[in-house]
């Protein structure tokens, strides 16, 4: 079958990637169509009274969080990939971990620390001091919490890039007389813009699409407008319309970024880096690094975990652990399957972009973000409608096979599909940043030596790409672990995951019970990180 495509000049890779892209785009089409529906009355109301405020809030949050995560994430990534530290490997793993704490749970945690009768009050009370009021449930508080728990997103993506950055670039810059900081800011940073932007885009989308934290904090944002139109005014069309405009803006920005950065890319740079030799840091740098890391990990890991452990310890034990085995199995099996799919699709798309770059392949590479560009409940509607129409068109076949009417829609397949297209953006971002410095040289050499595609991938490309693949896998897996809206709405009967259990309790203000499952999510993430770091060992070239 592929031979025929080849004759027409279409590579099988192109065909497969196109199919993947179609699958990603299809649910969004159902969303986009509504852009052209007539304007509803609730849209006019939203626009007149609240939209400007909500957009303003969204922008403030997005800007604040982007700047902080950008600086922190890049600083950690650069330091850990270029300098020697005591316990460097341990610190590296610990810096990923805040990712396992969903921002809305972190919101409850920090609320629980700073609100009246919270942990801070209790501690002050113990030592006989007056309570201090910190208004954590505010815009500033939200930026603080988001930043803490989204920094790993930037860290992960930029680190993959820095690790593969050829050392000679730095050396040349130093030889030409630039000092260390000038080298970083004038040479390294502009070169790593792609990876940095990739990481920050994830952070921005996460903040834009959050509804849990901002709702608890009482900060209405653009996603509040979407949900208010839908839930409050029962105007689904209006809500989807709002989401579609959000999606369009995101896509336009991303495409523009892609085209403008075109020439700044390091496409033919040396793929093999400096052999992992790390420099010694100066004394001042050491102090700054250790203090910052300590403060960050205290706030993003030690403090919330301590709070969660304490809350868990006073959870009412009845029924909390019911059906735990199946919950854990569901979560991990879905997580593993989706992770594999995300990674495989990411490699295919990235490879196409490298081997046959074209305008189309560049557009493909940006379109993967579609599934991540609007709140998940909206994507869920798109997926639902898509699957139901597929099911309806297959109903004849189902009749013959004696299957249920909505066979696909009522199976786990819809959930796996939805999660895959949702997190494709996240996985692909890491993989793309791995591909971006690879070039074609080694691939072509291998082909010239008569090796086939598979051999070339397995023994030439894969080892170079492995760190990027591993960070993509971490991203995808941890994100599936804590994913909520898609799982809630698309799951089959009696299907619970760790995250849905968190929601079940947190939604009803039962934070003690919710903590138990939040901790388990963190625990599973730790296990996954350890496993992946084992795979990673020995692959540094």
């Amino acid at each position: 079958m592929f031979a025929r495509f080849k004759e027409r000049g279409l590579s099988p890779l192109f065909v497969i990637v196109t199919l993947i892209i179609v699958a990603i785009v299809l649910p969004s089409v159902f969303i986009f169509i509504r852009l052209f529906h007539p304007v509803t009355e609730s849209w006019l109301h939203i626009k007149e009274y609240v939209l400007a405020d909500y957009i303003h809030n969204s922008l403030v949050l997005v800007a604040g969080v982007s700047v902080i995560t950008g600086i922190l994430g890049t600083f950690f990534a650069w330091s850990l990939s270029k300098y020697q530290w005591r316990f460097g490997l341990l610190l590296e793993s610990l810096l990923f971990l805040p990712m396992a704490i969903p921002p809305y749970i972190a919101g409850y945690v920090y609320g629980g620390i700073f609100t009246p009768f919270g942990t801070l009050d209790r501690i002050l009370n113990q030592v006989g001091k007056e309570p201090i009021r910190v208004d954590i449930l505010s815009k500033g508080g939200a930026i603080f919490v988001f930043s803490l728990f989204l920094t790993p997103d930037v860290f992960l993506v930029t680190k993959v890039f820095f690790e593969k950055l050829p050392k000679n670039i730095e050396e040349s810059s130093r030889l030409l007389g630039r000092n260390q900081s000038a080298t970083f800011f004038r040479v390294i940073l502009p070169m790593s813009r792609g990876a940095l932007v990739g990481g920050i885009v994830l952070v921005m989308l996460e903040v834009l699409n959050d509804y849990g934290l901002v709702r608890y904090f009482g900060i209405p944002t653009f996603s509040t407008a979407i949900y208010q139109t839908w839930f409050g005014m029962s105007d689904v069309d209006g809500a989807v319309r709002l989401a579609a405009s959000l999606m369009s803006i995101v896509i336009i920005i991303l495409l523009m970024e892609q085209f403008f950065r075109g020439r700044g890319r390091l496409s033919q740079a040396r793929a093999i880096s400096d052999g992992g030799i790390k420099k010694r840091a100066s004394k001042v740098y050491k102090v700054v690094f250790y203090v910052l890391t300590f403060v960050y990990l205290s706030l993003a890991l030690i403090l919330p975990i301590t709070q969660l452990v304490w809350w868990s310890s006073i959870a009412k034990q009845t029924n909390v652990m019911r059906r735990f085995g199946s919950i854990l199995f569901n979560t991990i099996s879905v997580g593993v399957i989706v992770t594999i799919l995300v990674v495989v699709c990411g490699i295919l798309i990235g490879n196409l972009n490298r081997l046959n770059p074209s305008i189309l392949s560049k557009i493909y590479a940006r379109i993967v973000i579609l599934g991540y560009s609007v709140p998940a409940s909206i994507i869920a509607i798109g997926v639902l409608v898509t699957f139901i129409s597929v099911d309806r068109s297959l109903s004849g076949l189902y009749g013959i096979l004696d299957l249920k009417n909505l066979f696909l829609t009522s199976s786990k397949f819809i959930l796996i599909f939805a999660l895959t297209i949702r997190f494709m953006a996240i996985g692909f971002n890491s993989i793309e940043s791995g591909f971006s410095k690879m070039g074609k040289k080694h691939y072509e050499a291998s082909k010239l030596l008569g090796r086939d595609e598979w051999y070339t991938f397995r023994y030439v490309d894969f080892p170079i790409l492995k760190p990027a693949i591993i960070s993509a896998a971490i991203f995808a897996f941890v994100d599936v672990l804590k994913e909520l809206p898609l799982t809630l709405i698309l799951r089959p009967f009696n299907f619970d995951t760790l995250a849905t259990r968190v929601f079940t309790y947190a939604g009803d203000e039962m934070i003690h019970e919710a903590s138990v499952y939040s901790l388990i999510i963190i625990g599973v993430s730790i296990v996954a990180l350890i496993l992946l770091s084992f795979i990673r060992k020995g692959t540094r070239i």
């Binding site: 609320g111 009246p116 608890y216 199976s411 598979w454 809630l488």
Partner: protein
């Protein structure tokens, strides 16, 4: 390489499909499939009890009610769901508007649930009742100064009133009830007056409002009674202490009654297990299940043969708003718009 990867992908897909097929091959047994936005462990306990007594298997999908409605709508006549359970009457009304539910016609349910807690056309029935009341700081507020929701907009309460954000359905249905009782203008005036008297911009949940009252950030808070029940029975001693410093006042007892909302259930229009679903409705409104609802979740039972929990009894007799509950659904979007207009975040 692509082909190998493609093989892996297709193998995974096939494997997933096989697992799902295996799950479907169970023998014919009586089942009832529920879409619910009530997430309490109590509910699962009740379903388990029901299965024990009747042999009918209960399957559950839990999600937010509007998303469940959208799923029901998309699935249309192919849906597997038989019963829709929501924790807000507005959503049941909406389901009726969207033509997603059908009348249940059960004498048992009719005798279990008083008329004002059912839809006139038998489209839905309440399972539990919650009251939205005024709570106050016992040490600072003399309950004789409290009277109605409306009175909270008087100048004497300036900077003293706490309430959560308007994105929450409980506030929306409260305002919808005022639209139904007093008209849109009066409702808007009330919302405006309340915003003017707020101690702070709305933030946090109902529990947080009560904690803020005890901490002195405000004097009164509008909350649902069962959250006070949860504070008082918390496994966290400090929360219990907070709960003890809170008084409950049923507003509008001398006028048009305290606002209530319900959680309720309806048969889905295209459900195929009507018999089992009705049996479950009869069970859930029966005295055994109603007792469990009342004691575990501090909600008011709908079955008049069942007494509320001791805690609820200690709050006193409750005169409720005398309006058709479906109006709360009908005026929901108006309420949301008023909140936006007066800037109740």
């Amino acid at each position: 390489m692509e082909e190998t990867n493609e093989k892996i992908v297709s193998m995974i897909i096939v494997a997933v499909l096989l697992v799902s097929v295996a799950g479907c091959g169970v023998e014919e047994e009586k089942v009832v499939n529920i879409y619910t936005d009530r997430h309490y462990d109590t509910d699962q306990d009740l379903y388990d009890k029901f299965t024990e007594q009747t042999g009918i298997v209960v399957n559950v999908v839990k999600a937010d009610s509007d998303e469940l409605l959208e799923r029901l709508k998309a699935e249309g006549e192919n849906t597997e769901a038989d019963l829709l359970v929501t924790s807000d009457v507005g959503r049941l009304f909406r389901a009726g508007e969207m033509d997603l539910i059908k009348a249940f016609n059960s004498d048992v349910v009719e005798s279990n649930v008083p008329e004002h807690l059912r839809a006139t056309d038998d489209l839905w029935t309440a399972l539990t009742v919650r009251a939205r009341v005024i709570t106050y700081a016992l040490d600072r507020v003399d309950p004789s100064t409290l009277s109605t929701y409306e009175a909270l907009t008087e100048p004497e309460w300036e900077g003293k009133v706490l309430a959560r954000s308007s994105s929450h359905i409980y506030n929306q249905s409260l305002l919808a009830s005022f639209i139904a009782l007093n008209g849109e203008e009066a409702a808007k005036e009330w919302a405006q007056g309340l915003v003017a008297n707020m101690a702070r911009t709305p933030e946090g949940n109902d529990r947080d409002q009560m904690k803020a009252v005890v901490a002195g950030e405000g004097d009164v808070a509008i909350v649902n009674t069962y959250y006070l029940g949860k504070l008082l029975n918390s496994s966290d001693e400090v929360e219990v202490e907070v709960g003890k410093q809170i008084g409950v006042f049923f507003p509008n007892q001398e006028t048009n009654g305290t606002h209530i909302n319900i959680s309720g259930a309806a048969l889905t229009k295209y459900g195929t297990n009507d018999e089992a679903a009705i049996e479950l409705l009869e069970f859930l409104t029966g005295s055994e299940a109603q007792n469990d609802y009342a004691s575990a979740n501090y909600e008011y039972p709908v079955n008049e043969a069942v007494a509320p929990s001791d805690l609820l009894k200690s709050f006193g007799e409750l005169k409720i708003q005398n309006i058709a509950l479906s109006l709360l659904g009908e005026y929901n979007d108006k309420a949301v718009k008023i909140f936006n207009e007066v800037g109740w975040q």
